[in-house]
C-alpha cells in the first residue's frame, strides 16, 4: 500500500511539529544579539564562548554523568538475577513480583521526589550524591529489568540442560552459559537506564543540593529565573550530544527495539 499525497503532507507537518521546538532552540543559540532573537543578522558563537564563564554547568554535567552511570550499574546488579529468574522459572507470585518491580513506572516522579526527600532527610542523607543515586536506581530499575527480561525470555533452555548434562554445576552454568547469552539485554538495559537517569528532572529537583545539582535541574532552575540565548546554547549542545548518542544506539541496537513496547518514559 502506498501513502497518498495527503498522507505525505500529514507526515511532513507531523515531523515539523516534532522538530520545531528543538530547531528553534538551536537557531536562537547562534544569535549574534544580546537578547532572544533568531540569528537574522548572521550566525555567531558568542553565546557558546560565554558558557566558559559558567563552570557550574560543566560541573552539573559531570554530576549527571556520574549519577547516570552508577545508578544504571547498581540497578542492573539487582535486575539481572531477578530478571533471569522471572524469565526462566514459573513460580507462585511470579506475575505479582514482576508487577512489583515495574511499579515505579506508575508512580509520578513528583511523588517519588517527595517520598525520597522525606526518606533521605530522615536518614540525614538529603542532598548527597548517594541519596540521588538511590532515587535514580528506583527510577531506572524497571527499564533495566525489562531489557533483561526480554532478552532472557528468548533464551533456549536446552542450552542450559546441555551444559548440565555435560557436568557443569549451577555456578558454572550461570557464569559460562546464561550470563554471556544475556549480555545484549544487559547492554541495552544499561543504555536505556543511563538515558532515563540522565534526563530525569522532576524527582531530582527535590533531592539535589547546590553542590549535587544535575544538568537538567540546573537548566530548569536557570529557566525559572530567565530565558536567554545562554540557556539555548547549553540546550543546543545537549541536543547535539543526544543526536550523536541516538545514531550510535541505532547502529548498535536499533532504536526501535529499544523503545517499541516500552510503556513509560
Amino acid at each position: 500500500m502506498k501513502n497518498g499525497p495527503l498522507a505525505l503532507a500529514f507526515n511532513a507537518l507531523f515531523i515539523a511539529f516534532l522538530l520545531a521546538p528543538m530547531v528553534m532552540v538551536c537557531l536562537v543559540a547562534f544569535t549574534s544579539e544580546t537578547y532572544l532573537a533568531l540569528p537574522t543578522n548572521g550566525f555567531s558563537l558568542r553565546w557558546f564562548y560565554k558558557l566558559a564563564e559558567y563552570p557550574e554547568f560543566l560541573a552539573s554535567f559531570k554530576t549527571s554523568l556520574g549519577i547516570a552511570t552508577s545508578s544504571a550499574f547498581l540497578a542492573l546488579l539487582f535486575a539481572v538475577p531477578a530478571g533471569i529468574t522471572i524469565a526462566r522459572y514459573r513460580f507462585i507470585g511470579r506475575d505479582a513480583l514482576n508487577a512489583f518491580f515495574m511499579s515505579p513506572l506508575m508512580i509520578p516522579h513528583v511523588v517519588l521526589g517527595i517520598a525520597f526527600l522525606r526518606f533521605l532527610s530522615g536518614l540525614g542523607l538529603s542532598g548527597t550524591i548517594f541519596g540521588l543515586v538511590i532515587g535514580h536506581v528506583v527510577i531506572v530499575f524497571p527499564f533495566a529489568m525489562r531489557m533483561v527480561l526480554a532478552n532472557a525470555s528468548g533464551m533456549d533452555k536446552r542450552i542450559e540442560d546441555a551444559a548440565a548434562s555435560l557436568g557443569a554445576g549451577r555456578v558454572t552454568i550461570y557464569r559460562r552459559v546464561i550470563l554471556p547469552l544475556i549480555i545484549p539485554g544487559v547492554a541495552s538495559g544499561f543504555a536505556l537506564s543511563f538515558i532515563q537517569s540522565f534526563d530525569e528532572t522532576t524527582m531530582t529537583i527535590f533531592l539535589a543540593s547546590p553542590t549535587t545539582t544535575t544538568l537538567p535541574v540546573r537548566m530548569f532552575n536557570y529557566i525559572q529565573d530567565s530565558i536567554d540565548p545562554l540557556i539555548c546554547a547549553i540546550s543546543a549542545l545537549l541536543i547535539l550530544a543526544t543526536v550523536i548518542l541516538m545514531f550510535v544506539l541505532d547502529r548498535v541496537y536499533g532504536l526501535e527495539k529499544l523503545f517499541v513496547g516500552e510503556g513509560q518514559g
Binding site: 516534532l18 521546538p21 528553534m24 529468574t85 509520578p108 513528583v110 511523588v111 517527595i114 523503545f259 517499541v260
Partner: protein
Amino acid sequence: MKAGREAFVLTAPAVLLFLGIVAVPLVMTVMLSFNEWSSTVGIISVMKIGNYREIFSDVYFAEIFLRTLRISVLVTAACIVFGVPEAYILRRMREPWRSMMILVVIGPLLVSVVARTLGWALIFAGNGLLSQFLLSVGLTDAPVSLMFTETGVVIALTHVLLPFMVLSVWAALGRMDQASEKAAQSLGAGQFTIFRRIVLPQAMPGVLSGSIVVFTLSASAFATPAIIGGRRLKVAATLAYDEFLNTLNWPLGAAVAVLLLVAIILIVVGWNRLVERRYAEVFSQ
C-alpha cells in the same frame, strides 16, 4: 526442589532493595500527609485527616485538580487524533524512509524535557515565532502569547507525549496483515473505509494502551507545566512542589502527592479492567 531455592536467592536482593527504597519512603509519605503543620512550629506529628479535609473543602485545590484532569484529557485526545494516523502512515512507508522517520519520532524521547519545553517557551512568547507568524498572516493585530495559558501547556505536553502514542499504535499495527487491506481494496472499499473498518479495529489495543500511558504521564507532568504554565497556572504536580519547597508545608504537599498517586493508580486499574471487559466481549462473540 532446588529450583525454588535458586529463584529465591536470585530475587531476594531486588525484593529487599525495593522494600527498602520504594515501599518505606512511600509509607513515610502517607504518614507525613496525616501530620499537621504551622508556620511557627513546623511539622507536628499527629495522625489527623486535616490536610485531606482542607484539600476537599477548598475550591482552590478543586480548581487545580480539575485543571490537571482537563489538560490530561485534552492531551490524550490530541495524541490519539495526530498519533494514530501518523503510526499508520509510518507502517505504509517504504525503507529507508520508514527507518528515518521512526528515528525522528523516537529521537525527541531521548532529548531532555527541559530543552524541548524551552523550545516551546521561545515559540509561545509574545515576541516569539507563533506571534510573529499570526501577525504577518493578519490573523491578529496584537502580539499573542501562549505562555502561562492552558493551551500552551496542552500543546507542549502533546509534543512531549506524542511519541509514546505513535510507538504504541505502531507496535499494535505491526501484527496487522496487509492482505486484509488489499482484499478490502479489491472489494471496492475506499481509503477512508479501509482506515475505519480494517486499520482502526486492529490499532485499538495500541490506542488504548497508549492512551493510558499518555494520560497518566500528563497528569503527573511537572517540568513542562512548570515552565509553560508558571506560578500562575498550577497543576497537581506543581502544587505539590510549591507546598513542599516554597511554602515548606510538607504535610499538605505530601497529601497532594498521595491523592495524585491514588488517583493515577485508580485510573490505571479501572482502565485496564474496562479494556479487558471490552476485549472479553469481542472474544466471546
